[in-house]
């Protein structure tokens, strides 16, 4: 089944829309779905032209395609467990929150909190992601627990904050403090970043670019060869300030002495 949702122009295009009802499973039932524009409850069809092709017996067979300007649409894919969502442009905040299965592909950029508290499944963002990609929620001890979040562009600050499992792959640069508070899981940054892995207690973070503001509380343990591209990295253990035993391995690093 393909569900093509084309966003209609809105009278107040900057009012955010909360669209957590847009997950593949919900389209199986053929019932009306509701989304919220600010404090107003709207039906899906008020904000989208809806075209449904074919049928499906299970959520795995449902693909939802979002066209038009959905850059202010939040929580798309929240709690998704199967199927596919393709966003042909930019997407708003909290895309793929709590996702446990299925795939989300974003052809444009993603706003903040992409894949927040993911548990499984996969998100591929072709463009850039905002702050807090692959992160947790305020106050929670655990963040993303599983699944794969891959960003082809750059990520903002605090990527993979509180990472507790799964894989976060950033092909471009990450901003400030990626992997801060991480406890488990894998964070791979192809580009540059600053101050990675503050307070890290476990897990592995690999930076194939340059680390600026390398934190002074990591103990160098040697070098390691990153196989896929045969790049030699310097390995550290830390964050010692936090009794951490995580692994941070970087190609190049500069202290802010």
């Amino acid at each position: 089944m393909r569900v093509i949702l084309t966003a209609k122009p809105r009278r107040k295009p900057f009012i955010p829309v909360e669209a957590e009802s847009i997950i593949p499973r919900h389209f199986l039932q053929g019932r009306d779905l509701f989304i919220w524009e600010g404090n107003k409850k709207r039906s899906l069809r008020e904000l989208f032209d809806v075209m449904v092709e074919r049928t499906a017996a299970a959520a795995e067979e449902v693909e939802v395609i979002l066209r038009g300007d959905v850059s202010r649409f939040k929580r798309v894919g929240e709690y998704m467990d199967a199927g596919k969502i393709t966003i042909e442009g930019d997407i708003g905040m909290h895309c793929g929150n709590f996702m446990s299965g299925g795939t989300i592909e974003i052809l444009g950029n993603a706003n903040g909190w992409l894949g927040r508290e993911m548990r499984g499944g996969g998100i591929l963002c072709h463009g850039n992601a905002g702050h807090y990609a692959g992160s947790g929620y305020r106050g929670e001890k655990f963040g993303m627990k599983g699944g794969t979040l891959e960003i082809l562009g750059n990520a903002g600050d605090f990527a993979a904050e509180y990472l507790t499992g799964g894989d976060v792959i950033i092909h471009g640069n990450a901003g400030d403090l990626p992997g801060v508070e991480m406890a488990e899981g894998n964070l791979l940054i192809h580009g540059d970043c600053s101050r990675p892995c503050g307070n890290m207690t476990g897990g592995t973070c690999t930076v194939l670019g340059t680390v600026h503001g390398m934190l002074p509380t990591f103990r160098m343990t040697g070098t390691v060869l990153w196989e896929p591209k045969k790049i030699r990295l310097t390995a550290f253990e830390g964050d010692i300030a936090n009794r951490g035993k995580g692994t941070l391995q970087v190609r190049e690093f500069h202290y802010d002495g």
Partner: protein, 413 residues
């Protein structure tokens, strides 16, 4: 009499009143004295029309406000730090009723402190504990002499600058590179843990020897008190800096006694955080558009909402975003209906459609305020200038909104 300026909330001011004016203030710092002596209050509500500013009646001002809030799809109510808890409470109920967002000046000031507390807790105390026990006091990223002038004399055992400078910690003036606080605090944590070998010779411009010395001073204190301000909250990393400071204090508590206190700015910003928390569950930046409280600073904070042009109406109470907010946020205010409840013409007035003056809490209105350490003190009313209180105005707005919503529900609109 209780001073309604900063969150020191000094309650030992002596005020001389002649007629309806304050003519003298004793025991106050310059900042307070200035507040008591401002004149130039708006005489009544004003409205911006095609012809400029005109005086309007209370009814028209209230009607405009109620209509504006009810019609909005994403109303924002912002401010709150210089009014009473009673008024703040009404504001929260209004936001809940209209499905809007409520936020306070916390979000541009000590919001990061709160975010850090939400990650690692707050090892705090009332200020008297510091005054009666502390032998080591640290001021980090703040300038108490300018922003909280009586803090040193009221809440520490040091009476003036010179004496403080001769105290242990002031001898250790940590001069660090901007943005280096996180690294420096992390290094101190490791040092307090006794892990020193791998730390580089310099961190953010601070030599390792100084770190080791400071670590010893802190561990050797009988009671240490850590105060910090926006120098720490607003520098790169923001709440992570505070978190590191808190975790440093936690680590020190394994050796001796230490507490930490944020130097809150306005006299009742903490009061807003308190009432917002007990009423909604969250201390600021609360979004009620889905009928329940949602909290996510960065998303539901006023500056961000305005900068993204998300809101379509704004009510400002007891603060001046026009003066303090970044340009992108302020520009949006110009394009939406804005009402301000504030006694004075200020930078925000330029963006308002309507402004209603109210009494000033602590001068001509009484109400509860929370000191920077959480101690609640009742601000007094020492003059009567004929203005309604924030609380009365907001209470009335709330009542009218509730009544109007009931009518609209019946009509199905």
């Amino acid at each position: 009499m209780v001073c309604p300026y900063c969150a020191c909330l000094c309650d030992d001011l002596d005020v001389t009143i002649e007629g309806n004016r304050v003519t003298g203030v004793d025991n106050a710092c310059d900042l307070a004295t200035h507040k008591f002596q401002t004149g130039n209050r708006l005489p009544g509500p004003i409205r911006l029309t095609g012809k400029g500013w005109t005086g309007i009646g209370r009814e028209e001002a209230l009607d405009f406000t109620v209509e504006m809030l009810l019609d909005a799809d994403r109303p924002l109510i912002y401010g709150w730090s210089t009014t009473s808890v009673e008024a703040q409470s009404h504001g929260i109920h209004i936001a809940e009723e209209i499905g809007g967002v409520i936020d306070a000046t916390t979000s541009v000031c000590h919001g990061p402190s709160i975010l850090a507390i939400q990650e690692v807790g707050h090892p705090g105390c009332t200020l008297g504990q510091v005054k009666n026990r502390a032998d080591v006091v640290v001021y980090w990223g703040c300038n108490p002499l300018e922003a909280h002038p009586r803090h040193l004399s009221r809440y520490t055992t040091y009476a003036d600058v010179r004496k403080t400078e001769s105290a242990n910690v002031a001898d250790e003036f940590l001069h660090l590179k901007p943005g280096g606080d996180y690294a420096v605090l992390g290094a101190l944590r490791a040092i307090v843990r006794g892990k020193t070998d791998f730390i580089p010779a310099h961190v953010a411009g601070v030599p390792k020897a100084q770190f080791l010395r400071i670590g010893e001073i802190c561990k050797g204190a009988k009671y240490g008190a850590f105060f910090f301000g926006v120098g720490l909250t607003q520098t790169a990393g923001k709440y992570k800096n505070i978190r590191n400071a808190i975790e440093l204090v936690d680590e020190l508590n394994r050796h001796t006694k230490w507490t930490l206190t944020p130097m809150r700015g306005h006299f009742n910003v903490y009061g807003f955080n308190e009432v917002c928390t007990w009423a909604t569950g969250y201390p600021y930046a609360v979004d009620f558009s889905r009928g329940m409280a949602f909290y996510n600073p960065g998303e539901t904070t006023a500056v961000d909402i305005l900068a993204r042009k998300e809101c379509d109406a704004c009510l400002v109470v007891a603060s001046d975003p026009g003066a303090h907010f970044p340009r992108a946020a302020v520009e949006h205010l110009a394009s939406i209906p804005v009402v301000q409840i504030d006694p004075m013409v200020n930078a925000t007035t330029a963006f308002c459609d309507v402004q209603m003056p109210a009494a000033v809490t602590g001068i001509d209105a009484e109400g509860t305020a929370y000191r920077m350490d959480g101690v609640p003190i009742r601000a007094k009313k020492i003059l009567d200038l004929g203005y309604p209180t924030d609380s009365a105005i907001l209470g009335e707005i709330y009542r009218r909104i509730r009544d109007e919503r009931k009518v609209r529900e019946v009509k199905g609109t």
